[in-house]
Symmetry: D2
Subunit: 319 residues, 4 copies
C-alpha cells in the first residue's frame, strides 16, 4: 500500500501515519501539501492519503475540507489523533537565553503564543513555510559548516518543531512539550477511494458535506432538525463558503454513528431530500472509541420495530 | 350492510348517513347515543357506524374521540360534511310572536345564541335531550289531540330542530337556516372494523391518537417536529386527558396525507418510536377533495430516490 | 362577598367553594349552570364565581373555557382541587343487591364505568341532569311518603352522588369512594373581575387563551416556541374551535409562573406580537404549591442582568 | 485619523481603505499582517484598522475573526466590499505565451484556479507571501537592471496581483479581471475602540461571537432559536474552535439589524442569558444598503406595543 502524506519526515502527519502503518509495511510518499496528498489518491499515484482535518487550535483544515468537498469522490476510512506539543529546538551550542529570533510555522506560533509570551517575551517571530522547514535549514547549516544561529545563521536562532523532527534533523532540545493547551490535539484522517464501507463498531463517526436549501434565515435550523429528530448528534460542524457569492455556505459535519445504522440512514435520506447537495465522506471508527449516545426510540431495533408496525397498518391489520 | 347511527329519524347524523348510502340499499340502525353506535360495530351488531367527530361550534365530539381512542381497534373509512343550520319549527297554528319557551338541545342553543338574542331576546331555553326530541314531543301532542304550545302544551312553544325533522314530524317552519355562523358545519365519519385501507386519492386524511412521551415542557414540541420534519401538515389537533392524573394528555389529530404515502409512513414510524402510544385510526379521502400540499423534497419520488441513494452509499459506491 | 357557584347544595363545586370561604363568612349564590355562575360576576350579581375548569376524566370543562375566552374580561384568582370520588347512595331500606336502575350524571357514569362493570354489571343507567338531582328526587319521594325505589319510585333505585350530598339529602351509603382512578380530581377556579393581580409566590400558574397566527402547519410549533425559548413550561393545553370554520383553533393554556416574573412577561409579549389574539386570564398560586422549574438563564436576575448588559452595549461601552 | 491596514501600497485592503477615506485626509499606516493592524488600534498606535473579514472564496478570515474574538474589546464601525478580480501582470517585454512560472499568493491562486487551468494549463505555481510581493520583486529587478523573467529573473515570469498594484509597481497587464467567479468579492471592516454605536439606518448588521451553552447535540439549535424566535436573520455564520479541546466551538455571526432595534436587543439578551459567552462586535450600516426583512410582529412598534400591553396586565387592568 502506498500512503501519501504531508512530508517531509518528522512532521506531525508522519507521526499520524506511523499510527496507521509502519514504514516497513507500506510505502510512504511525502507530499508538498495537503491538496497534493489528496490528489495523489484521486490520480491513483497513492492508495491512501493521511491528512490533518481538524485541530484544537486552528479548527478545520480548510485545504483538506475543501479538497474533499469537491472533485471526484473520496472517503474517510479511519481517524487518528496526535497530541500537538512542540519542541523548542536549536542547533548545537545554542542556549535558551541566546534565542532572539524564533522560526515557527504560523500555526505552531499560534498554538504556543501564551507559552512564548511568558518564557520568551521579546523573541521575534520568523515565519516558516512548514513545521519541519526550520529543522531542515539548521541541518543544512551544520552540513555545510555554517553557523546555526546569529547574523550569519539561517535567519533565526531556534525553532518550534514537531518532536520527531528533533532526532531526525540532529537538533537538540531547549524546551519540550511547548503548547498553550494541555489537550491540544490534531485529528488526521486516512483517505481512500470509494469501495467497501468499514463495518460499524458501535463507536463510529460519519462525515458529510451539506449545502443549505436556501440562503434564508432558518435554513440552518431546518437542516439541523433533520438530524435532531432522528437523534443524531454532531461532534463537529464547520461552515465553508460555497464560493459563488457572500452568504452562501456549505457545512462540513461529523455526526455520531454509522451509515449502516438506521437513524443515520434516515437522517442522511432526510438531508438528501431537503438539501440541494449532500456528499457522504465515509463512516469509520472513532479514535477515542466512545460509543454513540443512542436516544430512546432511535436504536436499530426501534426502527425495525416501527417498520414492522407500519407494514401491518398498511395491510389493514390494525394493531 | 347495516349502519348504526345516532337516531332517531331526522337527525343531522341521519342526513350524513343519507350522503353515504340510501335507506333502500342499507339497513339503518338508529342508536341512543354515539357510544352505542360505535359499540355496535365492535360487537358486530352493525357493519358500519356514522357518527359526528367534530363541529365548527363545539370542536371535537369528545364521546366519539374517546370511544375511538380506547377499546378494540376501529378505523375511519370516510368523512362526510353536513352544513349545520337549524329550523325554528312549531306545531300547527303557532306563530313566531307567540313563542315564549323554546326547546333546544344545549349544543343547538349554543350554535344559535346570537341569532336568538337578536330575534327572540326574551325567549326561555327549555333544554332538550336531543335535537329531534322536541319534534317528537310535538308530534305526540298532535297525535293525542293535545295543545302544541302554551301552559297545557309539551312544556314549550317551538323548537330548534334539524331541517329533515320538520317534514318527518309534521311541523311547520317559523324560521329556516338559523345559525350564528354561515360556515357552520359538522363533520361525520364512517367507522368500520380494520381491514383493507381505502386506496390513496391524493387528497386524503390520516387520523391518529398519540400519547406524549413525557409530561415535560417540550414533549408536545418534540411530537409535532416528527410530523413537521417530514412535511406532514395537521388539519385538526385536539387534546384529551388520558384520565389518570391532571396534566397528562393524549392528542387526537388529522394529518394531511395517506398512510400509503412515504412521508406519512415515515412520520408515523417516527411517532411510534418516540411516543409511548400511537393509535392509527385510518386513512380516507377528504370530503372537500383538496389535495395535500406536498413540500419540496417530501413527495413519494423524493423518498424513493433518497432510498436508492442511501443503498448505493451503503454498498460503498459513493455517488 | 357574594360567591356564585354551580348549585344546589351538595355538589362538588360547593365542596370547592367551602375550601375558599365558609358559608358564615360569605354569601353563597347557587346557579343552574357554569355559564350563569360566570355571567353573575360579569353583571355584578356576584363578586366571585367558583367553577370547575378541568377534570382528570373529562378534560377541560368546555362551558367554562368558552365562557372565559370571550365576553367582558374576567380573571382567575385562585385554584382549588377537589378529589372526585362518588358515593353510591340510596333511600332508606334499599340494599345493593336490589339496585337494578342507577341514576347518574353522564360525567359521573363515565368516571365510574369500570367500577360499575365489575360491581354492578347488569345495572341500567338512568341519566341525571346533575350530580345532585337524583338525591333531591329521592328526598322528595321520602318527604311525600312515596317509594324510593322500584316501579313506583323516582325511576331508579340508587344514585352516584357527591359525598356531601348523602347527609344533606338524608340518603344512606351503599358504597363509598366509587371511582375508576385513585387520583381522580377536579380543578376549580375562583373567578373575579380584573383588578389587582395576586402577588407571585414562586409557585404560580398563568392562564391564557391564544389564537394561532395562521391555519398552516407549523403555526402551533411557532406559538409553542415563544414559550419554550423563554423557559416557560405548560401544565395544561386544550384546543377549542374558534367556531367560524373547521380547522381554526384557539388554545387554552396554563403556564408555570407568574406574569410579574420576567420570563413569563417576555413570553406573553412574544405571543402578543405574533398571535392575532392573546387573552390573559390571570396569574395565581398553584393549589399543589410546587415551585416552578426555572431553567438556567431564565430567572428574574438573569433577565435583569441581560438588560443591564444590553444598556451598556447600546451606550457604546462594550463589556 | 490614523488608519492601520494590511500594506503595502497596492493591496486590496488599500483599495478598501481608499473607499473609506482618501490618503489626503488621513494617515495610512501599512502593517505586515492583519493581527498587527488590529493590535495597532488596541495599543493606540492607530485610531482605526481596515482588515478583510470574509471573502467569497476563502470564507471567514480566521486571523481577523480570532483577533476580534479575544483580547480587549474592539468594535466594527463600517463594512466595505471590494470586488476581487486579479490582474495577470508581468515586467516589460513579457508576453502571455512565454509565462512558464507564475507567482501568486495561495489565496489568489485558489480564486483563479479554473481560469488558470483553462488559459495556462501547464503553468507552475510559485507561492508568494502576499498579493503584492511579486510585483515588488519585479519592480526591484527593473530598478537594478536585471531580467524580469526567465532563469535569471525573480524566480517567475508573471504574477497575479491586485489591479492597483499594476500601476503602482510599473507592471504591464497580460490579462485583466482574472477570477473564477464573477461575483467574487472581499468584505472589509473598519475597526475602532468602543465608543458611540453608529446610529441605525434601517439597513444594518450586527456582528457577534457566541460560545455554545454546551457541547451537546442541540446546543446549536438552541442558540439559533434565540434569534429565530425574535425574527432575527443571519447573513453569516462561521464556526471557530474555542481551542481548549476538540468539538468545542464558538460562532462568529452577522445578524441583520441594529442593536438599537428592539428585536435585536431582545435576541442579544436571550443569547446573553443562555450562552456562557457573547461578545458584541458592533452594529453598522450594510455596504449593500439592503433593508432588513422585518417579519410580522417584530418591528419596534410591535415590541413597544407589547410592552404597553404587558404593563397594563401587570397593573391588573385586563384589556
Amino acid at each position: 500500500m502506498r500512503y501519501a502524506y504531508l512530508g517531509p519526515a518528522g512532521t506531525f502527519t508522519e507521526a499520524a501515519l506511523r499510527q496507521v502503518v509502519s514504514p516497513d509495511e507500506a510505502q510512504y510518499l511525502p507530499q508538498a501539501d495537503v491538496v497534493s496528498a489528496i490528489e495523489a489518491v484521486r490520480t491513483g499515484a497513492a492508495d491512501r492519503a493521511v491528512v490533518a482535518i481538524e485541530s484544537t487550535a486552528e479548527g478545520g483544515v480548510t485545504a483538506t475540507l475543501d479538497a474533499l468537498a469537491v472533485g471526484s469522490p473520496l472517503v474517510l476510512l479511519r481517524e487518528v489523533l496526535v497530541p500537538v506539543g512542540f519542541t523548542l529546538a536549536a542547533g548545537p551550542g545554542v542556549t535558551l537565553d541566546r534565542v532572539r529570533r524564533l522560526s515557527a510555522h504560523p500555526h505552531a506560533w499560534a498554538l504556543c503564543r501564551r507559552w512564548l509570551a511568558e518564557n520568551l517575551p521579546d523573541v521575534v517571530h520568523v515565519p516558516a513555510t512548514s513545521n519541519t522547514a526550520p529543522a531542515s535549514l539548521i541541518a543544512e547549516q551544520v552540513a555545510t559548516g555554517r553557523p546555526v544561529s546569529g547574523p550569519d545563521g539561517p535567519g533565526f536562532d531556534a525553532a518550534l518543531v514537531p518532536p520527531p523532527a528533533v532526532q531526525h534533523y540532529g537538533l537538540h532540545t531547549l524546551a519540550a512539550d511547548v503548547a498553550d493547551h494541555d489537550n491540544a490535539v490534531t485529528r488526521f484522517v486516512v483517505i481512500g477511494r470509494p469501495g467497501e464501507v468499514p463495518p460499524p463498531t458501535g463507536a463510529d463517526k460519519t462525515t458529510i458535506v451539506v449545502h443549505l436549501p436556501s440562503n434564508e434565515a432558518g435554513a440552518l435550523l431546518t437542516m439541523l432538525e433533520q438530524l435532531a429528530v432522528r437523534g443524531v448528534n454532531l461532534s463537529r460542524i464547520e461552515s465553508r463558503p460555497i464560493g459563488d457569492e457572500l452568504g452562501r455556505y456549505s457545512f462540513s459535519m461529523d455526526a455520531e454513528g454509522h451509515i449502516a445504522e438506521e437513524r443515520m440512514g434516515e437522517a442522511l435520506m432526510g438531508l438528501h431530500r431537503v438539501c440541494p447537495h449532500v456528499r457522504f465522506l465515509g463512516s469509520y471508527p472513532r479514535a477515542d472509541g466512545v460509543p454513540a449516545d443512542v436516544h430512546t426510540g432511535t436504536a436499530d431495533d426501534d426502527f425495525r420495530d416501527a417498520r414492522g408496525w407500519l407494514a401491518t397498518l398498511r395491510r389493514g391489520e390494525v394493531v
